[in-house]
Each structure stands twice: as C-alpha cells, then as structure tokens.
C-alpha cells in the first residue's frame, strides 16, 4: 500500500467513523485473560510450536509466547489461539503511522 493510499484510507475511516482495521488491513487482536487470543487479518503461520507462535501480518509479524499453545481454529482471515499466553509482541511495524 502506498503512502498516499494509506493516508486516503485513514482519512475516510475517520470521516465515516469506520473501524480502522477494516480499512487499513491492520491486525485486530482480542484477548481473553491470558487463555485465548483471537487474531483477525493475519497473513499466515510462520512458525508454530507449543511455546512460540509467529504469524505474518500485512506489515511485520506477530509473536506470541506461552505454554501449551494450541491453534483452536484457523481460517483465511482469523486465527484462534488457546494456551497460557505470556507475551504478545509485534515486529516490523515501526513508523507505519508517520
């Protein structure tokens, strides 16, 4: 996405009061306690083990650390992770909003 397109989309999202993740292809994460994590707008699994999971995003990647991680379900847009989640980290997204 070019810088210009992103700006336009951000502006429209604000104008029409739309959820940003719909317009901007950014991930949306819902987390319930430290047990469940629901990620929308992912771009595939890079690594998966019971301690570490890395997901590709439209820009950068998401890193989840924990214990006994299980993918409860996976679809083209969403991933549903369960386990004892300890860390959620984002990589490679610096300077997106400048």
């Amino acid at each position: 996405m070019s810088r210009f397109t992103r700006k336009v989309r951000q502006w429209t999202a604000q104008l029409f009061d739309l959820p940003q993740e719909m317009m901007l292809e950014v991930p949306r994460l819902s987390m319930i306690g430290n047990r469940q994590l629901f990620i929308e707008n992912h771009r595939g699994v890079i690594h998966f083990s019971s301690e570490l999971m890395r997901l590709a995003l439209s820009a950068g990647e998401l890193e989840v650390r924990g214990q006994n991680l299980v993918i409860k379900g996976i679809w083209t847009e969403e991933v549903f992770i369960e386990g004892d989640i300890l860390e959620v980290k984002l990589h490679g997204m610096e300077g997106q909003w400048s």
């Binding site: 998966f48 083990s49 006994n68 991680l69 993918i71 409860k72 996976i74 679809w75 083209t76 549903f80």
Partner: protein, 402 residues
C-alpha cells in the same frame, strides 16, 4: 474449537503430520478452505490436528507439495461406528430386526372400537368391517382409504345413517350414527269405548269413532261412550274407537285415624365400633363393651380397600350405634281428620290416575271414640271413565274399515 455441526455424521479424524514444513501445510490447508481445528505440536517435526473425513482425501496433493507424511491417530463419527458395527454382524442384524419388528407391529391393526351403536349389534358391524378387510391383525397398509371403508360398511348396514371410520395408530374407530326409526303404530282391533263406572260425563273427545253421549249425561257402567261403528246406517264402517272421556264419579271412603302416634327420635347419644372385615369374617378393632341403650339403631359404613379399580376382599367397617327414644304424640281431632283426608287424596291419585281431579269432598259422618276418629267421606272425582270393549260380532253386511 468445537467440530462443525455435521461432523458427527460425516466423520472426522485426528491426524499426525510429520515433516519439516508443517506451518506451510497449515497455511495451504486454510487457503484451500479445508477446515482444521485443535492444532497442537507433538514433537520437533510433528503436528496433530483435527480434520473432517471428506477433507482427509483432499490432503494428498498438499502433502506431496510440502513434503509431509500423515497418519491417522483417532477416528470419530458415524462412518467409523458403522464400519465397527458391520464387524459385529449379529448385533447389527439384531438392531435391524428390532427396528423391523417394531415397525411391523406398529403397522398392524390391533383393536377395533365401535361407538355409538345401540340397536345395531357390535358383532354385526365388525362382521361388515371384516368384509371390507378391517379386522384385528390386518396390515394397516392393506386397508383401503378410510372414507371408502366407511362408505362400504354403510352400504352393508341399512339401519345406520352415517358411519365414520378413523385410524389412530393401531386402533380403528368406527363411529356409528343410527337412523331414528319412528315407533311402529300399535295395531288395534275394532272396538267401542264404554263406561268403566257409573258417572256423569263432563268431557268427551273422540279422535276416532262417534261420540254417543254428550257432556252432563248420566251413564251407567257398560254404556257405550264412543262407538266404533261410523257412517250411515246404509253404509256403516267399523273402526277402533279412540278418544278421552272424563266423568264425575262418586267414591265413598271410610277412614279411621288414631289420635295417638308413636315417633322414633334419636336422643343424640351414640357409640362407635370399628371392624376390619376380611372376606366374611369381621375383627372388631374398637368400641368394646356392651351397648347400654335400651333401644338403638345401627348405621353402618363400609370402606372398600382396593388398588385403583381392583377390589381387595378387605373392608373397613364403621358402625355408629345411636340411641333411639320413642315419643308418643297426641293429635287433635282436626289434625287427625286432616291426616285422614290427605291419605284419601293420595289414594285417589294413585288409583284413578294423575289426571284425576277431586271436585268436591263431603264429610258425611265424623265420630271420635276409642282413641281414634272415624270418618265417612264422599268424594266427587273427575276421572277418565272410558274402557275398551272389542266389537266381536259385527253384522254381516258391515265392511271392515281401517
């Protein structure tokens, strides 16, 4: 993640995937819209996941592309249980036989109920139904249509106005509406109506025949009131005479009423006894000791033991023994006369019919002695006085009428 709604029917499996690029396989799977759930890592290069059975057969090209190997860990759902069932042939055939038996038994006609018939015999209706193929232990799929059956049965029963056949499960109900047949007329012989007693005619209505007497005529016992011979003297006809004739009749009554009457009254004192009765034998439970009353009456109540409608030969008997005192009452003469007349009224109504009417009553003689009053009363009663008398010997030239 729960398995999809139809998973139990279509079957699903837990598989183990071994290979270097398991993440790539997962990505491939969901992009191909193969639903997978409960993915967990088993070892360094091994992942387990749940998968629908139809999707399992779409796995092969993807496995080749990513260089993974697969084997099935667990199997769930109907296709697998069916396969297991086919191994136990006796169990499977038993299950099938049971279902078949249940279906067969429920498709039999077990009972036939006939409702609404009073004059037509149930056997007759069942016989007619049997001819139309409706009988117990008949297959219900061999029955004709219900309206057709009711039509056919109706054709066999001319006395029925309507027949309705309905089926409720294994029961066939036959509703019968009987045709109302008017009562056949009583055949009567040619007759006259004659006077029963000596009387003065007050009212005469001839519905058939010829009224011979008029009101206010004095008639003697045996006089013809309504004649059965009608028509002119040249062309007479004989008919059964019908009609009502009322007349005034005198009845004399000798009544004697005592002044003194005895009445029974309960004093209020009572004693209770209770028994258990087994068959014919009674066992007293309470109320021992003799009865101290000189005169008494026993009121008995029984309670039948039983389970729903079945009666057991056990009874609970409750006796109430109530003391009775006789009270003598003295009546006045007027009261005694009133009682005597009342008795006479009741006697007249009973003897001469409910439509009889007392026109006048006259006390001819009244005398009180020996503790009672003697009455001689004359009643003038208006009552039916006609009685039938068959016409036995008709003149030869008389033709029989209707």
């Amino acid at each position: 993640m729960k398995p999809p709604a139809t998973a139990k029917w279509r079957g699903y499996v837990r598989i183990a995937v071994r290979g270097k690029h398991t993440e790539q396989l997962i990505n491939e799977l969901y992009t191909q819209e193969i639903s997978i759930w409960d993915i967990s890592r088993l070892g360094e290069d091994q992942v387990s996941m749940m998968l629908m059975l139809p999707d399992f057969f779409r796995l092969r090209p993807l496995l080749r592309r990513t260089g993974c190997r697969v084997h099935v860990l667990e199997r769930y759902g109907l296709p697998f249980s069916l396969r297991q069932l086919s191994k136990r042939s006796f169990f499977a055939s038993g299950l099938l036989l049971f279902l078949l038996g249940l279906y067969m038994l429920s498709s039999l006609v077990w009972t036939i109920e006939v409702k609404g018939n009073e004059r037509i015999h149930t056997e007759q209706i069942l016989e007619a139904a049997k001819k139309e193929g409706v009988f117990p232990f008949q297959w219900s799929f061999r029955l004709k249509k219900m309206d057709e059956i009711s039509k056919e049965i109706h054709a066999q029963l001319p006395d029925a106005t309507w027949i309705g056949v309905s089926k409720q499960g294994t029961k066939i109900m036959i509703h019968v509406v009987e045709s109302a047949v008017p009562d056949s007329k009583k055949l009567v012989n040619p007759r006259n109506l004659v006077a029963k007693v000596d009387a003065v005619v007050t009212q005469i209505i001839a519905s058939q025949g010829k009224a011979v007497v008029r009101p206010n005529t004095r008639v003697k016992k045996g006089n013809v009131l309504i004649s059965g011979i009608i028509g002119s003297t040249d062309m007479p006809r004989i008919v059964p005479a019908q009609g009502t004739v009322k007349g005034l009749v005198w009845h004399e009554y000798n009544i004697s009423v005592p002044f003194l009457t005895k009445e029974k009254t309960f004093t209020g004192a009572y004693k209770e006894r209770q028994y258990i009765q087994l068959g014919d034998r009674r066992l007293q439970v309470s109320g021992y000791g003799g009865i101290e009353f000189a005169n008494y009456e026993i009121i008995e109540e029984e309670e039948q033991a039983g389970v729903s409608r079945i009666k057991l030969p056990i009874k609970w008997v409750h006796e109430k023994i109530m003391e009775v005192a006789e009270v003598a009452k003295e009546r006045s003469e007027d009261e005694a006369v009133r009682v005597g007349l009342e008795q006479a009224h009741a006697d007249i109504a009973a003897k001469y019919g409910g439509d009889s009417r007392i026109v006048t009553e006259k006390i001819l003689h009244q005398k009180a002695d020996n503790g009672k009053v003697n009455l001689k009363v004359l009643f003038e009663v208006e009552q039916s006085i006609a009685v039938e008398q068959p016409i036995v010997s008709a003149p030869e030239d008389l033709r029989q009428g209707d």
